[in-house]
Each structure stands twice: as structure tokens, then as C-alpha cells.
């Protein structure tokens, strides 16, 4: 056990899995020069055949990962920033998500497609997408969105070992957060299992990716006001651990969904819809979403920063839900 960052957790997970299984290899733009620090030393360790810099052609090399997986390899693709998944949407949705099904189980596509959620740092709308909910609407994909270094390492190792295609959305607001990381080479967190990050009794706050950490900070503050928050981290968005979410809400009777993505058709919306469909009779208050509003993200930090879910917005919502303040008119 040693403390390490979320970024280093990615590096460790990749390194251990590449050491364990020689079918695992990596490709992506500029991964040899290692822009974000997740492949430090990899070329020396694994050679240029297994650590491949690709042409700038996301649809091409992500589709190639699919082809390589079909013939028995286990690629990890680093697509760097999530916005760059759009050019590859066809290979992801038409080939990677559907080949196993459309060919009646003949194909198997064990691959991991990593990309980071690169928001809040003044890189403007074309680089700031958080598009995981789009992929949640597409069957055939698993999706992880870890909120801390421990989960990142365990889930990424789980993803590499999973026989399905897995998308890994890595929240850049968590990059420098540290956890104790197990050295056990078989430390793996199974995909599809959520985690209670903090226990509480008054309100369940279900966070997505970096939203979990904002929720935890809000919970601290609310505890001082006597409001007890349970923070639920699904960790995996597909399959979504609906049972864990429902269990928590059945206990607390109230829910807030915190998601750094745009509101409409977000993961937060899905979680909310799941709650009202399956835990309605436990609910004592509206289910509230704290998300980024449906506007694009501007460059100017001055107007960008206030758009994301914040401690203040969660605290306000929580106070309203427990009746400490009057509700906003609907």
C-alpha cells in the first residue's frame, strides 16, 4: 500500500495488466510521449510494438482496437479527451457495441477505451464534453467513471480483465486526488458494483465521477448543520448498480443526483427516473438533479466555473429537501 494519485492509479493498473497478460497492448495519440503521465516508462518496459502512437484518426484506431480484440488481443485505447470520441462514434456504436450481438455471439470484444472528462480548465466547448450518458443509451458497452484513485485502479484492472468492451471516463478534476493503492496484482473492483462513500440518514446524494467529491464536501458542511447525507457512488454507469441506489433512497427517503454533465438525458436523469419508478413509496420529497445546465462551456474561467455542480448548490438543494428552507417554485 502506498499513496498515489488518480493519474498514477491509471498508470499502475495499465502496467500491472500489461505485465500479467501479453495480449494487452496500448494505443493512442502521443501515448509514448505520455502527455498526462499515465504511460510513464511504458515504451522502455513494453517496447514500441505494445505501446503504439496512432495517426490522428479516432474512428480508425478505435475501430482497429475492435478488430484486434476480435482476433484475441485485449487493447487499451487512450483516446485522451472525451470530446474526441465523437469522430469515433460510428465504430463505437455500430461495431464495438453491436458486433457481438449482430453476429449472434460469434464475436468477443475485450477492449478498454479510455478518455478523460476535461472540463473546468478553460479549454472551451469543443474540449469539455462529458458525453457518458450518450453511451449509456447504447447497449453492449460497459462504462466506468471512477471518482478516486482507489476505485480507478481497481475498476480499470477490472475493465481490462472484462470480456466486454468497456469505456473508462476519467474525470480530470480527480487527477491529483490521492488514495492508498493496494499492490496486490489481483486487486480488482468488479464492474457494476457501486459504493457507499459516506453513510447518512436524511438524504441520499448520488454522485457521478467528480460529482462524488463535490457531494462529499457538501456532506461535510451539511453535517455541521445537522443534515445527514449518504453519498452513493455508482462507480460503474453501465451496468448501473440500481439496487444500491434504491436501497439507499429507501432508507433516506430523499435523493439528489449530482452529475457534471449537461442535465437533459444525463446519468442524473436516469438515476432520478430509476428512483421514482422503483422507490416511489419511500420518497418524501422531490428528487433533485444538480448538474451543469444545458449550455455549452465557455472559455472564460469567470463564467465557466459557476456552471458546474458546486458545494453551494448541493447544500441549497439539501436544505430545501429537508424543509429547512422554502422550496423553489416548480
Amino acid at each position: 500500500m502506498a499513496k498515489a494519485t488518480y493519474l498514477d492509479a491509471i498508470r499502475q493498473a495499465q502496467m500491472e495488466e500489461m505485465q500479467r497478460d501479453e495480449r494487452v497492448f496500448m494505443m493512442g495519440e502521443d501515448i509514448r510521449c505520455n502527455v498526462f503521465g499515465t504511460t510513464t516508462g511504458f515504451v522502455d518496459l513494453f517496447g514500441e510494438e505494445r505501446v503504439r502512437d496512432t495517426p490522428i484518426s479516432e474512428n480508425g484506431f478505435i475501430g482497429a482496437a475492435g478488430g484486434a480484440a476480435m482476433v484475441g488481443m485485449r487493447p487499451i485505447v487512450d483516446a485522451t479527451i472525451s470530446s474526441f470520441l465523437f469522430p469515433a462514434m460510428d465504430q463505437i456504436c455500430s461495431i464495438i457495441a453491436k458486433s457481438r450481438y449482430i453476429y449472434g455471439g460469434q464475436a468477443r470484444l475485450p477492449l478498454v477505451l479510455r478518455s478523460c472528462l476535461f472540463y473546468g480548465n478553460s479549454n472551451a466547448a469543443q474540449h469539455s464534453d462529458r458525453p457518458y450518458s450518450m453511451f449509456m443509451n447504447m447497449p453492449g458497452l460497459k462504462i466506468i467513471a471512477p471518482s478516486n484513485a482507489y476505485d480507478m485502479k481497481g475498476l480499470l484492472k477490472g475493465a481490462v480483465r472484462d470480456d466486454n468492451p468497456v469505456l473508462s471516463f476519467e474525470d480530470s478534476t480527480c487527477w491529483m486526488n490521492k488514495s492508498e493503492l493496494p499492490d496486490d496484482p489481483d486487486f480488482v473492483i468488479p464492474l457494476g458494483k457501486g459504493d457507499i462513500k459516506r453513510e447518512g440518514t436524511d438524504i441520499s446524494v448520488i454522485g457521478v465521477a467528480g460529482g462524488v467529491n463535490v457531494a462529499l464536501r457538501a456532506a461535510e458542511q451539511l453535517a455541521r448543520e445537522g443534515i445527514s447525507i449518504e453519498v452513493v457512488d455508482p462507480r460503474t454507469l453501465a451496468p448501473l448498480d440500481r439496487d444500491l441506489i434504491l436501497q439507499s433512497v429507501r432508507k433516506t427517503g430523499r435523493a439528489i443526483c449530482v452529475d457534471p454533465a449537461h442535465m437533459t438525458c444525463s446519468a442524473a436523469s436516469e438515476i432520478s427516473a430509476t428512483i421514482v419508478e422503483h422507490a416511489f413509496h419511500a420518497l418524501r420529497a422531490p428528487v433533485v438533479r444538480v448538474t451543469t445546465p444545458d449550455t455549452h462551456l465557455p472559455f472564460s474561467p469567470h463564467i465557466e466555473k459557476p456552471l458546474y455542480p458546486s458545494v453551494e448548490r448541493i447544500v441549497d438543494a439539501a436544505r430545501r429537501l429537508v424543509g429547512a428552507v422554502a422550496p423553489v417554485p416548480a
Partner: protein, 334 residues
């Protein structure tokens, strides 16, 4: 059959072309009667392209095709029963009834997908070639795509990737003069698709797509290059589809000009039959093949007809490696 040696593979080419032709004639007929659901894109007229290319491959080589998917797997040697069963949506279909006419992919024959999204096979083929290379195998991956598909970004990206990494891939553009209703010249810039090769620094080859031997030779050269680690080749087979884009649509999408008859006059099977006869194969032997193939097709159809439809639960299998849970309300009304 009394012919030996090299003639055996000639006969095999003839047989596979016949299989495609007869398989499709039957499929078209029963589709017209409503026995096959969905759209049906026939390969008739293009048999020499698929068979010539696949005969240059080993059984363990990979192949990726497209929506016009009846020809490629048969060319690669797939059994007819599961193909016909697939057309009828049966559980014994090669894709268990989940793919249908546009997706007749037989992985046992090295096929990694007949994908109906135009152009989408190229990255997959590049990836399969990469996989073979990383595993130290000398397998190659061949990708069939249409003239229309050459306009897709995916094809460009797949070829560029294969060229940069010198992957053992062969890109076979089956130029049948149309993408749906659109003549190639209205959609594809440049005189030949094969001319694109130079831009990637790889060989570009044009071949008569009605001549199965010529196609095989061209592809074999590319396969040899690929196995030798010299990278991909782009081959354009100049060919023609007899039917409309999809058959039995109730109206003609593509009105044909006078060249239609010229192409019919260069039928790949007729031409090849003549060549075999000139080389001493007897008409009787060839007739026997035709008849045997007719038997295979009839057998495949009986098999397909007798097979059961998939169980409802099958709809939830193979989304993931694990079976999905089935929602109660859906199951209740299935």
C-alpha cells in the same frame, strides 16, 4: 470428379461462384414471396470478385465484408445451411437469427463481420491485421468495400493506419459502378479508387472483376507482400451488380443504360466455364457441379425451413458476454 492438381482449385472457384449464384437466386425468389424479412442485397454479377479474392486467402486468414454479404462468406468457404437459416431468421442461422441478410458473417471461416454500415469494415480489418502481427502470426486480413464506401472517412483512416504500420491487410474495393442509385463518378472523385493508393505510398492495382483468375492473382500478390511484412495493398475490382441495389423493392432505383447488356455478356461464371472447358474440363463435369450445388441450396433451404425460430430470451443474449436480465413487463407479453 476426375481433374487433379491445379485444376482442383479452378473447379473450386467455379463451384463457389455457382454456389453464390444459386444461393442468391433462391433467396431472391423466396424473399419475393415474403419468406425472408428485411432488405436483400444480391451479389449476382460480382461472384468473381469475392471468389477470386478469397481463394487467395488461407482458411485462417481474416476477412471483413459489407451489407452485400451473401457472396463473401460463401466465397471464403462457409457452409450454406446456417447462411440460409439466417436469412429466414432461424435459431440455427449463422448469427442465430440476429443478423439477417446484411450480416452473413461466419467467424469459423475467418470472417470478422459483414457490416452494413458503409465503410465501417476498414478499421476492423486493419485491427485484425494488427492483431495477427502482434501475435507473430502470418495471417492477413482482407477487407471488401464498395466504390461508394471509398468516400467514407473510415476507409481512409483504415487504409492510412494499415499503411503507416505496414499491417498485413488487403483492401479490395469492389467497384460495381453504383452506390445505391448513384453512379460512381457522381460520388467518388478521381478516375479510379485504386489511384488513392499512391497517396498512402502503397501499391494500387486495378483488375478485371469478372475474371476470377485475374482477381485471385492480384490478391495473391498482395497477400504475399502482406505476409512478407511489406504492408497493405489496395485492389480495385471493376465489376457490376446485375440486380438493383436491393431486390424486390417494387420499383427500380437505378435505371440502367446500354452497358447493362454488355456486362451481362461478360458474366463471370459463363466466362469461367468457357475457360475451364477450353482447358479440357468436360461440360458434363461442370453440369454435375451445377447440379450438386443446386442440391446443396435445396438442402440448405429445407434445413432453414425446418429450423425453429429463436426463443424470446435469445434477444437478450450476446449484448454482453453475460446474459441481460429480462424486464418482467416485456417478458409478460413476449
Amino acid at each position: 470428379m476426375s481433374i487433379a492438381g491445379d485444376n482442383d482449385r479452378k473447379i473450386e472457384k467455379y463451384r463457389r461462384m455457382q454456389r453464390i449464384r444459386q444461393f442468391e437466386a433462391k433467396a431472391e425468389a423466396i424473399h419475393a414471396q415474403g419468406e425472408i424479412p428485411g432488405a436483400l442485397h444480391t451479389y449476382a454479377g460480382m461472384e468473381a470478385s469475392g471468389v477470386g479474392a478469397c481463394m487467395a486467402l488461407r482458411d485462417d486468414d481474416y476477412m471483413v465484408g459489407n451489407h452485400r454479404s451473401h457472396g463473401h462468406p460463401i466465397a471464403k468457404g462457409a457452409a450454406l445451411r446456417p447462411l440460409m437459416a439466417e436469412l429466414l431468421g432461424k435459431a440455427t442461422g449463422v448469427c442465430r437469427g440476429k443478423g439477417g441478410s446484411m450480416h452473413l458473417s461466419d467467424f469459423a471461416m475467418g470472417s470478422l463481420g459483414e457490416t452494413s454500415i458503409v465503410g465501417s469494415g476498414a478499421p476492423v480489418a486493419a485491427g485484425a491485421a494488427l492483431g495477427a502481427k502482434l501475435q507473430g502470426l502470418d495471417r492477413v486480413a482482407l477487407c471488401f468495400f464498395g466504390d461508394g464506401a471509398s468516400s467514407e472517412g473510415a476507409v481512409h483512416e483504415g487504409m492510412n493506419l494499415a499503411a503507416v504500420w505496414k499491417l498485413p491487410a488487403i483492401f479490395v474495393c469492389e467497384n460495381n459502378r453504383f452506390g445505391m442509385s448513384t453512379p460512381t463518378a457522381h460520388a467518388v472523385a478521381g478516375e479510379n479508387v485504386a489511384d488513392r493508393a499512391r497517396g498512402y505510398g502503397i501499391p494500387g492495382v486495378i483488375v478485371d472483376g469478372q475474371d476470377v483468375d485475374a482477381v485471385e492473382d492480384a490478391v495473391r500478390e498482395a497477400v504475399d507482400r502482406a505476409r512478407a511484412g511489406l504492408g497493405p495493398t489496395l485492389i480495385e475490382t471493376k465489376t457490376y451488380r446485375y440486380g438493383d441495389h436491393a431486390v424486390n423493392m417494387g420499383r427500380e432505383l437505378t435505371p440502367r443504360g446500354p452497358e447493362h447488356d454488355e456486362w451481362l455478356g461478360r458474366d463471370p461464371i459463363t466466362l469461367y466455364r468457357a475457360r475451364l472447358e477450353a482447358a479440357g474440363v468436360s461440360a458434363a463435369d461442370l453440369d454435375a457441379i451445377d447440379k450438386a450445388v443446386a442440391g446443396e441450396v435445396a438442402d440448405a433451404l429445407s434445413f432453414a425451413r425446418e429450423s425453429a425460430y429463436p426463443e424470446f430470451e435469445e434477444a437478450f443474449d450476446h449484448v454482453l458476454v453475460e446474459r441481460l436480465p429480462i424486464p418482467d413487463d416485456v417478458r409478460a407479453h413476449a
